[in-house]
């Protein structure tokens, strides 16, 4: 490689016109010759055998190990978010009581060739099932600020959505993520992203995908099931502060997306929704570290607001269990937000506070207003956490939450969690 470069440089030097006219050039060449000799000596000196490096393997492999102890004052089987019914396969709630293995993650990633990067993140669940969390390829060689990503990946909408749960600052996802995205929105999709040629970070992007996950629903048809648009901007204020803000839109068309809701007669009714779902996300992050060095102290403030408009048809009692199947128009505008701050007050130790609230907004069941009630309860939750990181690769966390996600109940939740990573030293997103 070096030799090749030297050849190129030498060729360039020969090709350079009027070089001899300048007396300095000859001396410079001599110096470069001297340097070449020096480099030759270096290269020919007995090589110290460098050990095979983790990073030099192709591909890099890393494993995330995580376990959790949860003490919950309420039975998690009853957990729901009042006014925001979710399909049975969405991820929400505090999980199991007692000791449990949290999600373990196996990540394999590398540059495929000069043109593509590829990553597979395989998620191993405590119930002995496994799933492909992400499996995507991404372009490296497009110019003009473009990157294209294809495969299964977490959408770039919002701030937290594209981050893996092991880099979250709290054990669980904010209620807005659970209520509006079923935890996190990942899809089988294609993403185009463009970075503007400006000093301020400006990124525009769009995704088109299958729409297999909530708030969409999997279906067998051609075309696009979910589409997103997002714009992010960010920058520095001096050395000590940096920030990022964003707006995003997620557009999906779920078909027969199911939800179970207690009806006006007090029965658990199985219902389905078909129509359009548009979720708007506004996100903002501000990070502070003295002189930009986060090792001793740092602070991170982050907030996201989501607003969703869904319209279409709801079929009440879709499975006919109550013998009262009835379809009617549906129109709902709902919103929610969270605000959190995490402060590292000394090396390895951080404390965090999170407060969040959902607004039931306006829900009109049309002809089904006779069967289903419009919600008027504001789910909320306050959380405090403290974590201790023994190194970059291990973290132990204690978290306490007062969760008022469902009406009339305060679920007091205590979590103890460990999060560790082994293998390749991955680079983290902002």
């Amino acid at each position: 490689m070096l030799r090749h470069l030297l050849c190129v440089a030498a060729a360039a030097a020969l090709a350079a016109p009027v070089m001899a006219a300048e007396p300095a050039a000859g001396a410079a060449d001599q110096r470069l010759d001297k340097l070449e000799q020096r480099l030759d000596r270096l290269e020919n000196s007995p090589a110290s055998n460098p050990p095979s490096s983790i990073g030099s393997f192709n591909p890099a492999v890393s494993v995330i190990l995580s376990g959790i102890y949860a003490g919950l004052s309420e039975d998690p089987a009853n957990y729901h978010i009042s006014g925001f019914p979710l399909p049975s396969d969405a991820e929400f709630g505090p999980g199991d009581r007692g000791f449990s293995l949290a999600e373990s993650e196996l990540a394999v990633y590398a540059n495929i060739d000069p043109y593509f990067y590829g990553a597979l993140i395989y998620s191993l669940h405590p119930d002995d099932t496994a799933s492909v969390e992400e499996a995507y390829i991404q372009t490296l060689a497009l110019n003009h600020g473009f990157t294209i990503k294809a495969g299964r990946f977490f959408s770039s909408i919002g701030y937290l959505n594209s981050q893996h749960s092991h880099v979250w600052d709290f054990v669980d996802a904010p209620l807005v993520y659970q209520a509006f995205l079923g935890g996190q929105f990942g899809d089988d999709a294609v993403q185009v992203k463009w970075l503007a040629p400006t000093d301020t970070f400006i990124e525009l992007g769009a995704e088109a995908g299958r729409g297999r996950g909530y708030p969409g629903s999997d279906r067998d048809m051609n075309g696009v099931g979910a589409a997103t648009l997002f714009a992010h901007a960010g920058g520095d204020i001096g050395f000590s502060n940096n920030w990022r803000v964003g707006v995003s839109l997620l557009n999906t068309s779920p078909r027969d997306r199911d939800f179970t809701e207690t009806d006006l007669a007090g029965n658990d009714a199985f219902n389905t929704f078909s129509g359009h779902s548009r979720t708007y996300v506004v996100d903002a992050v501000w990070k502070y570290a003295p002189n930009g060095d986060p090792v001793y102290t740092n602070f991170k403030l982050q907030a996201e607001y989501m607003r969703r408009h869904e319209d279409g048809d709801v079929t009440y009692d879709a499975d006919g269990a109550l013998g009262a199947t009835n379809s009617g128009a549906y129109d709902a505008k709902q919103s929610g937000w969270y605000l959190q701050g995490v402060y590292q007050f000394m090396p390895y130790w951080r404390v965090g506070l999170r407060t969040e609230r959902l607004d039931p907004g306006s829900v009109d069941y049309g002809a089904n207003n006779a069967n289903l009630a419009a919600p008027d309860y504001n789910p909320s939750r306050n959380t405090v956490m403290v974590d201790y990181s023994l190194s970059e690769f291990s973290r132990i966390r204690l978290q306490y939450a007062r969760d008022k996600a469902y009406q009339g109940v305060t679920d007091k939740q205590i979590f103890v969690q460990y999060l560790m990573s082994l293998g390749a030293h991955g680079a983290h997103q902002y």
Partner: protein, 300 residues
């Protein structure tokens, strides 16, 4: 959509292009920014991603870095996995083909330096170790001199129109720098064999250059903050293996070295390990001037 973006991109590219004249260089650390300025003069526009008060092991891929990497024609970094926690993600998301690893626009200085402290066993129980060897190569000016030559060739390759300009600047820089190295070596002669304690293993190349003898580190393992138990051990060790001074970088907390300084009755000094790390370290010449002077005054 893509057409629109492409059109937008090209329009913005013509209007906002910051590299109409000068070569845009993205330097990971201040020393490479300073060296590129020495070699490139007014033909380069240098952006330095980090400052001397940031621990180079703990840099975040903040949004402004992506914006700067997108417009760079040359990325100059240390390598040896010093930037592994942030640079790969910045380059991957930059949408800039020219500066991807393996391309002429990507330059790792440590590739051309014989590394010290190359580990024979790779196990994280030994702390934050770098498989390629100690990456803090910039504390030996002889390494800077080597990198200057290779970087000149790289600048000439990327920007052939200014190749002669870079070569003549290199010649001028190398003459002055080699003379300065000889002066520093003469001045620093009394330091040879001086036993020292370091906070982090950030000075291996400085020690090798000036013949300092590192007898202990304040970090129990590389990258692990000093613990009181370990500091007590070091204090104990110094009783039968005395050292003359304690060295730390500007980004290390003073607590551990001041604690030890008080008890072991030896001075604790801050050694700027890159340009900008002290008042006098304004450029590469000021940096080593200041390093040598600080070491000498601590010896007295």
């Amino acid at each position: 959509m893509k057409k629109l973006l492409l059109a937008l991109s090209m329009a913005a590219g013509t209007l906002l292009s910051p590299y109409a004249s000068a070569l845009n260089v993205f330097a990971c650390e201040p020393e490479w920014g300073a060296l590129t300025r020495e070699l490139g003069g007014d033909r380069v526009s240098v952006y330095v991603a980090t400052n001397a008060f940031q621990d180079p092991h703990h840099i975040q891929a903040r949004p402004s870095l992506l914006a700067k990497a997108r417009g760079a024609q040359l990325v100059v970094c240390t390598g040896s996995e010093l930037e592994i926690g942030w640079l790969p993600v910045v380059l991957r998301q930059s949408g800039n083909d020219a500066v991807q690893p393996g391309k002429p626009g990507y330059f790792e200085a440590a590739d051309y330096i014989k590394k010290l402290e190359v580990p024979t066993v790779l196990d994280r129980s030994a702390g934050d170790i770098h498989p390629g060897g100690n990456p803090h190569i910039q504390t030996d000016p002889r390494n800077i001199a080597i990198v200057a030559g290779v970087l000149t060739k790289r600048l000439a390759e990327i920007d052939p129109g200014n190749a002669d300009y870079y070569r003549s600047r290199y010649q001028d820089f190398d003459t002055r720098f080699e003379a300065a190295i000889q002066r520093w070596e003469k001045e620093a002669a009394p330091l040879r064999g001086t036993p020292i304690v370091v906070h982090h293993k950030a000075f291996a190349y400085l020690e090798n250059w000036l013949g300092l003898k590192e007898v202990a580190q304040l970090e129990p393992k590389p990258g692990v903050e000093p613990t009181s138990a370990h500091l007590a051990e070091v204090l104990d060790q110094l009783k039968h293996q005395p050292a003359k001074m304690i060295l730390r970088t500007p980004y290390n907390s003073e607590r551990a070295s001041e604690w030890l300084s008080e008890r072991a009755k030896i001075p604790a000094i801050v050694i700027p390990d890159t340009v900008g790390g002290s008042e006098k370290a304004k450029d590469l010449f000021g940096l080593y001037d200041d390093i040598v002077q600080r070491l000498l005054s601590a010896l007295q």
